[in-house]
């Protein structure tokens, strides 16, 4: 748990990956371009001394991931968000199955989400059912700009997508994470346009729609939709690392989010390994809203808000009992491995841990 001015904050990183972009796994130029583009984002928003080399960035493996996330207890739990990109990577880039390697070994520490692609039609529905049966996935991560054959993407409000969302509702897969981030490719098709979330969210009021990257560069469209749809949430991946080298912008974006969505509908996510929670959590926790923004928007980035954004909001969506987790982590395998037993022992003064 993060120690903040003597208070403990339980942190759920709501957006993590275990990916494989090794050259052997790449089967299309798009795969190489994709990881290079990720790497540009990594170096742009990572302090120089914390930047990785390209090789370790392509593949870091489960051990490194555990160390980065839990080694210094910056994060208490992580939520896997798969990104298939099956046309680009032979075995996929970051599939449910790849993520399951860690998630099934440490189920107390990880939430494992699945994915679907409506262009897969009936076999896609069957695959979704299979993920439900095998892993009991509580959510899906969707990548509407993914290439598939001649198709350069799909929309959440397509008829076929609605069929998949209906099936999610029936199976109790309630958390629908959609990547809505910068346009990289493909050409002029605006496949990360956020507007398709509007119709989907109002048609499926029993599902939660978490818009990853808060729609950037369509923060305006996103906030306007989220302001009207109570089941739309914002994931902070990409916006969070602004805290590190663009603190004024971070303050402004966070103020907008808190004004339009309120403190109950914003979720922290590092996007690991795009950025590493072992430094990012601290940057976000210690960030401050400028006096000017606090006055203009009338919002606060205070302890209560941080508790919600950094953990409690995700806990609510994923039925995680934070107190029970805290007790469990006094003796789970991860705590033993990293010597965190005392850290999770209730009532211990913060000074007792590292």
């Amino acid at each position: 748990m993060y120690q903040h001015n003597g208070e403990e904050i339980f942190v759920i990183d709501a957006h993590v990956h275990l990916w494989d972009a090794t050259e052997e796994n790449i089967q299309h130029d798009g795969g190489e371009e994709f990881i290079r583009c990720f790497y540009d984002y990594h170096t742009t928003f990572t302090p120089e001394e914390r930047q990785w080399g390209m090789d370790e960035y392509r593949y870091y493996g489960p051990d490194r991931m555990l160390e980065d996330m839990f080694g210094n207890a910056a994060v208490d739990m992580g939520i896997f968000q798969p990104t298939y990109l099956s046309d680009f990577y032979e075995e996929g880039f970051n599939t449910t199955e790849q993520n399951a390697e860690l998630a099934t070994e440490y189920p107390e520490r990880f939430v494992l989400n699945g994915s679907f692609d409506p262009r897969d039609a009936d076999p896609g529905i069957e695959y979704l059912e299979e993920l439900h049966e095998k892993y009991d996935i509580p959510g899906v991560k969707l990548y509407t700009a993914e290439w598939r054959g001649d198709s350069k993407g799909w929309r959440l409000d397509d008829e076929e997508a609605f069929r998949f969302l209906e099936r999610c509702e029936e199976l109790g897969i309630e958390n629908i994470h959609t990547h809505k981030g910068p346009t990289i490719r493909p050409l002029n098709r605006d496949a990360f346009d956020v507007k398709d979330v509007d119709d989907a969210a109002s048609s499926f009021s029993g599902l939660n729609f978490i818009v990853e990257h808060v729609g950037l560069p369509r923060l305006d469209d996103f906030c306007w939709i989220a302001g009207q749809e109570p089941n739309v949430y914002g994931g902070l991946a990409v916006a969070a690392p602004f805290a590190q080298n663009r603190p004024g912008k971070f303050s402004e974006i966070m103020s907008e989010l808190l004004w339009w969505l309120g403190e109950d509908r914003v979720l922290f996510g590092s996007d690991y390994a795009l950025w590493n929670p072992d430094w990012l959590v601290e940057e976000v926790m210690e960030a401050e809203l400028t006096e000017e923004h606090r006055t203009e928007y009338g919002v606060e980035w205070d302890l209560e808000t941080k508790r919600k954004v950094m953990g409690e909001n995700a806990a609510k969506l994923y039925d995680i009992d934070i107190e029970a987790k805290r007790r469990q982590f006094q003796e789970d395998e991860i705590s033993q491995r990293f010597g965190l037993e005392d850290h999770y022992a209730g009532g211990e003064p913060a000074a007792a841990d590292d």
Partner: protein, 269 residues
């Protein structure tokens, strides 16, 4: 010999004149000049032939945006009477070959990118609309500062604006003075700085929202007249549009800095 302003009336275009035209080209997503954003790497002038080199913050900047900027750069420079041939070279972009060929051979986006569906005009229109909303925020802020309230602002029409010289006399040219704004059936008048209003009017005209004297000056993001009761919310949405643009600007800036650093490092090796 370097080219100077003295050439302005001569047969060859000046660097300053070319730069001035390029300064009117904006990054459509950020609504800022490509000169100010330092995307223009080089201007070569050889007689009446002008070559412009452009580099964007990343190699994978949206090809549609790259297309708009290079086409606009070409067309702006071509408006100079002294220019006979314009050649645009986009560098370090994953689609530079298609874009350079398309722009210089005056093909359409659809011809240059047969894989893409449709043309860039819809994307351009949407970004223009966002730029209009953001500029409206700045113009409205200036009016609020001058003492007008939401009700007065939402009631303004184009005819209520009158450009003034710095000394307060009426003017129709490109002065740096102010605007007189007539309020409440012209019962009183306030003066506001010229730049934010002018910038807004430019986009409002481009998006066909304001052209006639009788047209309502400000609109919702959807293009409707603003109900005075919703003024605060519409103003918030304008603020949000400015935050969105400057946030994306922060990402682009960061990517450009990271790329420049990489280039410097590889040059040091």
């Amino acid at each position: 010999m370097g080219r100077t302003e003295a050439d302005a009336d001569g047969p060859e275009p000046t660097r300053a004149a070319v730069r001035d035209r390029l300064d009117r080209v904006t990054d459509p997503e950020l609504d800022r000049s490509i000169v100010e954003l330092e995307y223009v790497d080089g201007i070569e002038i050889d007689g009446r032939r002008v070559e412009v080199e452009i580099t964007l913050p990343t190699a994978w900047c949206s090809p549609a945006f790259a297309w708009m900027m290079t086409v606009d750069a070409r067309d702006e420079v071509a408006t100079l009477a002294a220019v006979e041939v314009v050649r645009i070279t986009l560098r370090e972009h994953m689609h530079e070959a298609e874009i350079n060929r398309g722009v210089n051979e005056r093909r359409s986006f659809a011809e240059a990118f047969p894989d893409a569906d449709g043309d860039v005009e819809a994307v351009r229109a949407e970004l223009d609309e966002k730029a209009r909303v953001a500029r409206q925020y700045d113009a409205t802020e200036a009016l609020l500062e001058a003492g007008l309230d939401g009700e007065a602002i939402t009631g303004l029409r184009l005819a209520d604006l009158e450009p003034l010289e710095a000394d307060g006399t009426p003017d129709d040219g490109e002065a740096t003075g102010s605007f007189a704004v007539y309020v409440a059936d012209r019962s009183f008048v306030v003066r506001v700085p010229r730049a934010p209003i002018e910038r807004y009017l430019e986009k409002a005209r481009e998006t066909d929202l304001v052209s006639e004297a009788d047209d309502v000056l400000f609109r919702t993001p959807e293009g409707e007249p603003i109900d005075p009761n919703s003024f605060d919310l519409v103003h918030r949405r304008g603020r949000l549009a400015t935050v969105n643009m400057s946030s994306q600007g922060g990402i682009c800036d960061g990517l450009r800095e990271a790329r420049e650093k990489r280039l410097e490092e590889s040059a040091d090796d």
